[in-house]
């Protein structure tokens, strides 16, 4: 027998990947400081995905505690388990273990803001009734103390049936030690006794539980009594007599009153009793946040404040981002040019330079604006201003059939419709939400601006109109055209396809508070990742496809002609003249290649369709190329008018001005240009927006409708202007 020698490795040196032992659901009211606490517990060990079949994001993080690793699921903020919005429904499904892809939680971390025990305890009693171990984190306890509130934690714990209560300050980390210790043992902790918030209900449930001979527990009967058929299926079919008894008892308990209302009344009655015992001192509005909120309560300062905030956001998104965007543009062009000149001329080189590099460039060029926009949205959200903006604008937005919550998606869409559509998630009513999603792409996004700038600079005279410049007025007019079309669309939809009862409007208006930088940074990172995944991939793919359509098939006769011209030029010219001739020949060849490429051919095929708008095949080809991503149009115009890469240069302007029909009349007349601008203002030329609409509405119906509707509007608008304006 061979002797075995023991090899000893110190245990602490064996690195073992620790798998989470159990899943804990993190549940709390919106604005309870839940995200800050979640970030504090998990740090950067978190991931964002979507729940299956819906658009709500699923935040999962790993909490490494002293001797346990737990998976935390950060659920959307909710006030109640009687779910109202999509996000609340998700929260309810997860805690009840009904959500596909999420393990049934082994415990609940209930997050309650110490200065809002009233709504917090309402939710906590519902959570305790689920029969899982619960730990309550009392967040922002410093702010509550500062406001003059004292909470008797031991007493509160007794009222909550023995659930552990940990006062914490997530921003500073105070109290986090005891919360971590409580969490580590939570899966094995005792399930707290559900408070008897409605003695009559408790007595009835006890009686029925005794009658059921152990088939149902008291807590299950209580849920069945409250939820009726809407609740979890706890009553099994064989228990017919029991089901009937429960139905009877239900009718007796609720009478003719709506169960939701009755439940809310009873629960809050209990909460008020508890508050009278555990909370002393009434919140005094001494904090700066409360004072600012009180000031912005008044209609006039509130409105002025709102416009100042919007102006700052606009200024930041456009002015601050521009230098960065220009730099990215320049870097992309330089890299592409470098690749073209370094690698031998081939399809692969063109793919890398004009397809891949240009594609990546067209994605990251949006990042400065998107990041600034997201940063402001997160700051406004975390500071509590977003809710106030929705409140202030509700009356105005309602007059166009939307609600105050539509204002932020609309404003965001002036930078890009993709984050705008994503921001509609806060709108609880589905009809409101879809109307907003369909109005959002009409807002003038930053991808429309280069097209506007080029055409206005080329064809609108810079004459003064009063104090204004005509060019500026035309640009302003285009912004207004977008807004008007969006508003009319929303109005029209709310009266036809999306007609329905006026949605409930109930909004919590939190006090202003200083956003936590760590939370802001983590959220910003998460949203940028989502943007890159949703929009970035689409924009990049589109860039490569458009490249292929404009590159293939290659014509040998065009190449032959170019080579012959080049040989001739080399024989007769030298130095600068030769260099100029080389560029000229290359640009002409590129234009000729484009003319006979799939894109050029497509332009010629559809040109008759666009003839009533006054467009020739070149513009038609550029517009077709712009359908998946509108900003592509300038690059295509540059190639088709043989000015090479200098598309934004004045050479393109000159070429456009001198473009003629075969009969010698100019193509770019003022009516045609105005028509083209209107087409750009109204047409939905953005595959990324369509993809996001598809995702957010979870159906193909709305993106298809949006595309058809907006394209028709653009086409008809352009045609009317051209036909009416042309002699």
């Amino acid at each position: 027998m061979a002797s075995t020698r023991a090899i000893s490795i110190p245990v602490e040196r064996i690195s073992v990947r620790q798998y989470p032992r159990a899943t804990i659901a993190v549940v709390g009211n919106p604005n309870s400081g839940k995200s800050t606490l979640f970030n504090r517990l998990t740090g950067l060990r978190q991931s964002t995905a979507n729940y299956p079949g819906v658009t709500v994001e699923k935040h999962v993080g790993i909490a490494k505690l002293d001797d346990a690793v737990l998976e935390l699921v950060d659920l959307p903020g909710t006030f109640s388990l009687s779910a109202h919005s999509l996000e609340e429904r998700i929260a309810v499904d997860v805690v009840l273990g009904r959500m596909r892809g999420v393990e049934k939680p082994a415990g609940i971390l209930a997050v309650v803001a110490a200065n809002n025990l009233y709504q917090g305890l309402f939710l906590v009693q519902q959570l305790i009734e689920l029969g899982l171990p619960v730990v309550v984190a009392l967040t922002m306890s410093d702010a509550a103390e500062a406001a003059g509130l004292k909470i008797d934690v031991d007493k509160l714990r007794r009222f909550l049936g023995g659930a552990i209560v940990c006062p914490v300050v997530a921003t500073t980390g105070q109290g986090m030690g005891s919360l971590r210790r409580a969490l580590a043992v939570l899966p094995e902790a005792r399930v707290p006794d559900a408070p008897a918030f409605w003695p009559e209900l408790r007595a009835t449930a006890d009686k029925l539980a005794a009658e059921s001979n152990g088939r149902m527990r008291r807590i299950e009967i209580e849920r069945a009594l409250i939820d009726g058929s809407n609740g979890p299926p706890v009553v099994d079919a064989s228990a017919d007599t029991l089901t009937a008894r429960i139905r009877e008892a239900r009718a007796r308990l609720f009478g003719g009153r709506p169960p939701v209302a009755e439940e809310a009344q009873r629960r809050y009655d209990w909460v008020r009793e508890v508050l009278a015992e555990v909370q002393s001192g009434s919140p005094v509005l001494r904090t700066w946040g409360a004072r600012v909120a009180a000031f912005l309560n008044r209609p006039v300062p509130g409105t002025i404040g709102l416009f100042v905030v919007m102006a700052v956001v606009f200024q930041a998104v456009f002015a601050w981002a521009t230098p960065l965007m220009d730099a990215i543009d320049a870097a992309t062009a330089a890299t592409g040019a470098w690749v073209s000149s370094t690698l031998p001329e081939s399809a692969l080189t063109s793919l890398i330079a004009d397809g891949v590099i240009a594609g990546v460039g067209s994605v990251i060029v949006f990042l400065p604006q998107i990041m600034i926009l997201f940063l402001f949205i997160i700051l406004l959200e975390d500071s509590g201003y977003l809710a106030r903006a929705a409140y202030l604008m509700d009356r105005v937005m309602r007059s166009v059939g939307l609600s105050g919550q539509s204002i932020i998606p609309m404003i965001s869409s002036f930078a890009c419709a993709v984050p705008g559509v994503m921001a509609t998630r806060v709108i609880p009513n589905r009809r409101d939400r879809i109307a907003t999603i369909l109005a959002a792409p009409f807002m003038t996004c930053s991808a429309r601006l280069p097209v506007y700038a080029l055409l206005i600079a080329a064809f609108v005279p810079a004459t003064a109109v009063g104090w204004f410049n005509l060019q500026g007025l035309v640009l302003l007019g285009l912004y207004l055209l977008g807004i008007i079309a969006g508003v009319l669309t929303a109005l029209l939809l709310r009266q036809t396809a999306l007609r329905g009862p006026k949605p409930a409007f109930a909004l919590m208006l939190p006090e202003f508070r200083k956003p936590n930088l760590r939370t802001v940074a983590i959220q910003l990172l998460g949203r940028v990742k989502v943007f890159l995944r949703r929009a970035g991939t689409v924009i990049f793919t589109v860039a490569v496809i458009v490249w292929a359509l404009a590159y293939y098939p290659r014509s040998e006769s065009v190449e032959g002609t170019a080579e012959a011209r080049l040989a001739q030029a080399e024989a007769s010219l030298s130095d600068d003249a030769l260099d100029r001739a080389r560029v000229r020949i290359a640009n002409d060849a590129a234009a000729a290649q484009l003319e006979q490429s799939w894109l050029g051919r497509a332009g010629k095929v559809v040109a008759p369709v666009f003839r009533p708008l006054g467009w020739d095949w070149k513009i038609s080809a550029a517009v077709i190329a712009g359908f998946p991503a509108r900003e592509v149009v300038i690059a295509v115009l540059g190639t088709v008018y043989a000015v090479g890469d200098e598309a934004s240069d004045s050479t393109l302007t000159q070429r456009l001005e001198s473009a003629t029909w075969p009969d010698g009349s100019p193509v770019f007349t003022l009516p045609m240009v105005f028509g083209l601008l209107i087409f750009y203002a109204w047409c939905l030329q953005c595959a990324a927006t369509l993809a996001v609409i598809r995702r957010e509405t979870n159906s193909w119906r709305w993106p298809v409708f949006a595309w058809t509707y907006m394209t028709t509007m653009g086409y008809v608008g352009a045609m009317v202007v051209y036909q009416v304006g042309s002699p």
Partner: protein
Amino acid sequence: MKTTFHSTLETLRRGQRGVIKTVDSADPAVQRLMVLGLVAGAEIEFTGAAIGGDPLEFRLFGNGISLRREQARHFEVVAAGDG
């Protein structure tokens, strides 16, 4: 059934406090507000209205909550003395 109350959340003056006495809970939008804590027995203070006089903002147990006039009139209130 339609109930018309004489003194409601809508008739409170700015800065005035009151206690909700009864709620006409037939409207689902009103039920939603009850879930947020606007139930009989809750003390509430009217703090102001937005642009155009609607929606209204109230203070409920130290926290701001806003609702539209349309729903506010379903909450009967016993107003406290001038606040």
